[in-house]
Symmetry: C2
Subunit: 410 residues, 2 copies
Amino acid sequence: MEKAIGLGVVGLGRAFTLMLPTFLQDERVRLVAAADPRSNAREMFSRDFNAPAYEALEDLCGNPDVEAVYIASPHQFHAEHVRVVAAAGKAMLIEKPLAISLADCTRIVELAAQTKVPVIVGHSHSFDGPVLHAAAMLNSGIFGAVRMLNALNYTDFLYRPRRPEELDTRQGGGVVFSQAAHQIDIVRLLLGGLIDKVRACTGSWDSSRPTEGAYMALLTTHDGAFASATYSGYAHFDSDELMGDVSEMGYRKDSTAYGAARSRILHMDAAREAQLKIAGNYGGKDYRFKASPATPYHQHFGPVIISAERADIKLTPEGLVIYSDAERKFVSTPKRPVPRAEVVDELWDAVRLGLDPLHCARWARATTEVCIAILESAQTGKDVALQFQVAPSRPVPNPDERELRDEYDH
Amino acid sequence: MEKAIGLGVVGLGRAFTLMLPTFLQDERVRLVAAADPRSNAREMFSRDFNAPAYEALEDLCGNPDVEAVYIASPHQFHAEHVRVVAAAGKAMLIEKPLAISLADCTRIVELAAQTKVPVIVGHSHSFDGPVLHAAAMLNSGIFGAVRMLNALNYTDFLYRPRRPEELDTRQGGGVVFSQAAHQIDIVRLLLGGLIDKVRACTGSWDSSRPTEGAYMALLTTHDGAFASATYSGYAHFDSDELMGDVSEMGYRKDSTAYGAARSRILHMDAAREAQLKIAGNYGGKDYRFKASPATPYHQHFGPVIISAERADIKLTPEGLVIYSDAERKFVSTPKRPVPRAEVVDELWDAVRLGLDPLHCARWARATTEVCIAILESAQTGKDVALQFQVAPSRPVPNPDERELRDEYDH
């Protein structure tokens, strides 16, 4: 194998905490530097990885060991941070949401186009193995055109510890920016990317957490396919029970822990809640790195059922159930030993092999456009027409074939 | 108990076949006459029930034993048959859909209002015990206002044996008229009845069965609640697997029978298929009455999840799962020994007790209006505003209390 990609990290918060197991286990990347305004996070990083941690992004970009930068800063800083990193000619992995305005998304798209640095936007759950597997299978055409898709997810998202701005839609808070970014990315990938119009409703039902906690969106494509996406983060019904009690992160869930998220923050003021969040993430006082135990399950983002002309496909945490004209059968999606290895696949393919990323800036702008349209349609009560939609830049890789190639490479 | 209601039946076809177990087992009704153009069906009825069977509805209406008429003729005859029965001053149970045009629905509404005869429209699955149970519980207000609802159903509807007109939307064929009539009735009852606007898409993906086989609808209410209803009758994914493998009729399903509906009619021409349908129903050569074996399960119409301000409720074939702020708990819905006893409840309450039916003509017109709006929105790609919506005419009875009253009555 070629040399691991030297990765610098901007922002050692929640997103980094969730990606760390991947960076530690995937031999194709190596953490070589970080930038964060919090000194305790910097100190922890330097100690853990024997690598420099800077206060300023510019200094990180000046480090020649850094080949690619993982931009995991709060999304309001993304456009500015992309400018700095692109100017330094480094490849980028940018956390979702790419940005929360189309103007910022377009700035990033243009920076990527001008500087020709590879840009990958993720992780999002459209990188999950079964999603890619289904997309590759549908692209092959064996089941005819995709006609309808139903996606739903009921979680406790709104009651996880939050910073105040995460409960303010104008600052990118709420489930549309945070969670539709996953669900719509999945829907777009499976429908072929080109959403035509969006009609949606949003719900904000808890005045103590005054942002969208739920939405329903009806999406239509130019060629007459349609999809329904439903999300609730109100910590009541948990749709993981429809996924075999497997959690979003791919672990068997303790189903006796009902109500834990809500009761944990009950009677807690905003400042204490924000501290609780910080304390549990990288650099925080309660943070302890736990190596991810092996899991047979893929990560997922709730039940998804795709209807093509000659088959329905249901995503599961282990693969796909295919309901064709002739038979119902389960097809296992190969489970990579490294969680979210699919994100590193795209980074590796872009940086080492020069391939266009699937989750490029234009792709992510199109997903953000749908999210913004969900908010707009909920306000106006009308369809919102879209203009930045794109198809995948290349065929979706079939996880089956990827595994074979990886085995050959190593 | 007071004397059983003498029931005359118009149309001894599929709908009657499905209601027969109810009429045979429920002591509150007695089959006293029938009308049907098919002589073999009439002969079978006279033999089975030792009761007259007429060719003409007028003759049935002239029979003094007939207190109420079950109008189970094809829906294009409903308006005319209602006119005849109303003129005779008899109560009516009218099969859904009430009619397939708003003009016909309005004729029926006006006939009912002018003659003051009780009109009940059903059976539909909004009579199912858990639906009524959830509606009664939500009406009580303990969980706050209903804000969102998700209903879906994936069946083999389109591949069950059909007469040609059942595959022609202009004649009331397709899943919108036949199946949305159930699903929308459920959604309306749980949301409070008053749908404001409809945005929908329909799918017609099999040119050999050229009618709508699928739809997705986004419904909004005046007070900002919203619902998504998804249906596919394309015989691929079967959402009964999300209902514990319990069928629509409340029986444990044989999950090895995948693909049976499609393969049964494969290579069959339209005439043979229509014969197959007729043969299996009352009066047909293959028809054998089978007493319904006891089942612990309620009938259902696919997964439904309701989100109120302080709880989500999931319908199951045995009752409700309530996911409130504090706890998740299962609440059993009392299972009546007679299937669809809830339909006879409304008939009995109207004819013997003089109560307004919940499933009255105005209620059914409002559901039909939504169905027609689904077709219209799919054509225009826009929201359709509604004008005939009504709230339930009386509080939804709680099945728990009904059972107590019935026990007391007997």
